[in-house]
């Protein structure tokens, strides 16, 4: 046998081992059924939906990590995503495999026991895509169904990947990125529908929600968030302004299994200067309820009619059954950029109450207790006149923003990352505000301001008694999602780089760990081989990178109570044959 042949043989033997090992690890990963997604509440080992369960509570019944032992939590493994742009994704865990995304919608499948990379999907990115990205090349995560992993690369595409190999199975164009439509949210799977929204409110898009068949990728329905002429609500837009009015749908939705309602938040109006689109502007800055099978709008609730301050309403609502003033209410709760926490009746959109989450809100004199409609303070409305209005509270980044708060049903507490800050706004003159596809259509200049020593306040709110319970302050804004557990813990991260755990009852800080870069993503928890883990992505980027300069980085951290050398965490194929791009053998 000559040398060449022996090398070939060795190489093919090596490839075969690779494939075999790959298959033995991956054969365990079952397809994700619709029932799996519906019954996620009872499945404590996985984290299958964006908010763990369709109601988006970000609550886990796991109790192994609890207030008594949480200070023993330590990093078990970490994974560097390999670039320095911000990380905003919620990881999903299914059958021992973790799926994360990084900036530019790279997708990684990792062995959830030890961080070994199984595959990595790199989407093509047009070189001038940055010309239509308002808020960084961020991505907020994937969705799972069957043998597919769904992700929306930034340039308004929906891609389905084989969950075992990361190969593209199909891809669909959602809209034209050159006209300012981009995609940053995690898709939402309901039965056989994959539902996606779009970003682009700063570029004068007309927002929409689309549903694709989960298997074939065929488009099932499109629902615009701004009605066309002849559709109800178009009269809330003067002339042709509805065509470029914004109402983007850049975050994921929430689903109520009992009533088959899909809830989706909408963003700011375009241009930001509200004077140029007089009227309520349905459905900007609103919550919509839709039928996920047809896309038909059941009802809408507008948080900020004729929004003039970029107060997007895109944070998905949390669904919970509460008792308020002696009445049982099927509630949808949302914490809004406009500074208020809203409780609605999720069956019909009826307003229950709104509570300020921060101090000194001044864009409105108050909220009508019957209808929920704000009484706008005209002095705080910037006009198309070149004059600066300030201070407006909250600033446009909001009393809170897109990242999911959590709801602890044991206590009835919503744990909300809030930010106390202000802004100035200066509207341009009308002649300087014209629409061009794919160009900024804000018509406004702004500056955010801090109001004191601290901006970030993680607050617990007793939803049923309408009472604030505790507050953890930070000098920098909070921009990460929250996780709460039945064992009585709250986890989140801050821009200083700390992931921390607090007692959900008292807000007492129990543990923290410095991850090395600002945290803008949401923590999750899962269990494997009888052990509970906490995972979070750390990496400054997105909007916070506008307001301070801290080290950038991009790392997934997984924490547990055991050290790496014990149990399954140590396992994994770390031998040279499994190392991508290792040096060739000298022979």
């Amino acid at each position: 046998m000559d040398q060449n042949n022996s090398r070939k043989l060795r190489r093919s033997a090596f490839m075969a081992t690779l494939i075999f090992l790959g298959m033995t690890t991956l054969a365990a990963a079952r397809p994700v059924s619709s029932d799996d997604l519906m019954n996620a509440a009872g499945n404590t080992s996985d984290w299958l939906n964006h908010g763990r369960t369709y109601d988006m509570q970000r609550f886990s019944p796991l109790t192994q990590i609890n207030p008594c032992n949480v200070n023993n939590l330590r990093p078990i493994w970490s994974f560097a995503v390999g670039n320095l742009d911000g990380l905003e994704a919620t990881p999903l865990v299914h059958d021992g495999i973790m799926y994360i995304t990084s900036a530019y919608a790279h997708v990684f499948a990792l062995d959830a026991r030890n961080g070994r990379k199984l595959w990595h999907y790199t989407p093509d990115v047009p070189k001038d895509l940055g010309t239509v990205l308002c808020c960084g090349p961020v991505n907020r995560g994937v969705a799972l169904r069957g043998n597919l992993v769904y992700v929306t690369p930034l340039d308004a595409r929906l891609v389905a990947l084989n969950k075992d190999t990361g190969q593209v199975v199909w891809e669909k164009k959602i809209d034209d990125w050159k006209a300012g439509y981009t995609t940053t949210a995690a898709p939402l799977v309901i039965r056989d529908h994959v539902i996606v929204g779009v970003a682009g409110g700063e570029y004068g898009i007309r927002g929409h929600i689309k549903s694709y068949n989960a298997k074939s990728g065929d488009l099932e329905w499109t629902t615009y968030t701004i009605p066309a002429p002849g559709e109800p609500g178009n009269d809330t837009w003067p002339g042709d302004t509805w065509k470029t009015g914004g109402a983007a749908t850049w975050n994921t939705g929430t689903y109520d299994m009992a009533s088959n309602q899909l809830y989706w938040g909408t963003g700011n109006g375009a241009p930001w200067v509200a004077e140029l689109r007089k009227g309520d502007n349905l459905w900007i800055a609103a919550l919509l309820s839709l039928n996920p099978d047809t896309g038909k709008i059941n009802w809408g609730f507008q948080y900020t009619p004729n929004d003039a301050w970029d107060y997007d309403g895109n944070m998905p609502p949390i669904l919970a059954d509460i008792t308020y003033e002696g009445k049982k209410i099927k509630a949808a709760m949302q914490s809004n950029r406009n500074g208020f926490f809203y409780v609605l009746n999720r069956e019909n959109g009826e307003f229950i109450y709104a509570e300020p989450t921060i101090e000194g809100i001044n864009w409105t004199h108050g909220i009508d207790p019957k209808t929920g409609r704000p009484d706008v303070n005209q002095a705080m409305v910037p006009k198309a006149d070149g004059k600066t209005v300030k201070p407006i509270i909250p600033g446009l980044e909001g009393g809170t923003n897109w990242f999911g708060f959590a709801y602890n049903p044991c206590l009835g507490y919503a744990i909300i990352p809030t930010n106390q800050w202000a802004m100035s706004m200066t509207g341009y003159k009308p002649e300087d505000i014209t629409y061009e596809p794919g160009q900024i259509y804000m018509g406004m200049d702004f500056q955010m301001y801090r109001q004191g020593e601290t901006i970030g306040h993680l607050k617990a709110f007793d939803v049923q008694n309408r009472k604030w319970v505790w507050d953890i302050a930070s000098p920098l804004p909070f921009f990460a999602g929250v996780l709460t557990t039945k064992s009585g813990l709250v986890f989140t991260g801050d821009q200083l780089g700390f992931i921390f755990a607090a007692d959900v009852k008292s807000g007492k800080m129990l543990w923290r760990y410095q991850t090395g870069s600002g945290i803008n993503a949401s923590p999750i928890t899962y269990a494997l081989d009888g052990k509970q883990y906490i995972a979070i992505l750390s990496g400054l980027g997105g909007d916070p990178s506008f307001y301070f300069q801290n080290p950038k980085g991009g790392t997934l951290f997984v924490f547990g109570l055991d050290s790496l050398d014990s149990g399954a965490a140590a396992a994994g194929n770390w031998e040279v044959e499994h190392i991508e791009g290792a040096l060739p053998n000298l022979d």
Binding site: L84, D128, G130, Q549
Partner: protein
């Protein structure tokens, strides 16, 4: 209400941070060069270097073709470019400065802000003339700075520059 940090009074540190960021982007290599090599005694340093080159040479010699092909990532050739104008044709012209302002607002401000943001403060950049033009047209690979050559004409970029220079003074 007290505004603690109104923007004009905040010292602009974006240049410092950009330099830092530029350094960080190539970490750990220049970190290694900056901090480590200094501590290595010369013979030891040479030893490390020659070992590295020996390994590299061996790797190259013995690497099968596919491995070599993979290790060559295509690099964008940085060709000299021909520009229409040798100097800014619009410098100081009121009307074009306003056009430049509007272009800046629509195309650049979302990242570069009034004093930096996701990108450096362009009112303090050291780049001028063709260097600036080139940075804009080609973008910066591996950063969020996009290539504008399909979106903006050379004239438009000169207008943006005219505005930036006017706004500086």
């Amino acid at each position: 209400m007290i505004i603690v940090n109104p923007s004009p009074q905040v010292p602009d540190r974006s240049r410092y941070f950009n330099r830092l960021r530029n350094r960080l982007r190539v970490w750990p290599w220049n970190h290694y060069l900056l901090f480590r090599t200094r501590n290595l005694s010369a013979p030891c340093g040479i030893g490390v270097l020659s070992l590295v080159s020996l390994v590299a040479a061996l790797a190259l010699l013995s690497a099968p073709h596919w491995a070599l092909a993979q290790s060559h990532s295509p690099k964008k050739a940085s060709l000299p470019r021909e520009w229409k104008y040798q100097a800014n044709p619009f410098a100081g012209d009121e009307k074009t400065i306003h056009e430049g302002l509007n272009l800046y607002r629509r195309r650049c401000k979302i990242c570069h802000g009034n004093r930096g943001g996701r990108g450096p403060n362009l009112f303090a950049t050291q780049l001028a003339g063709h260097e600036f033009l080139r940075a804009v047209m080609e973008g910066r690979d591996g950063t969020q700075m996009p290539a504008w050559e399909d979106k903006l004409s050379e004239e438009q970029v000169w207008k943006i520059m005219a505005y930036i220079i006017a706004a500086r003074s």
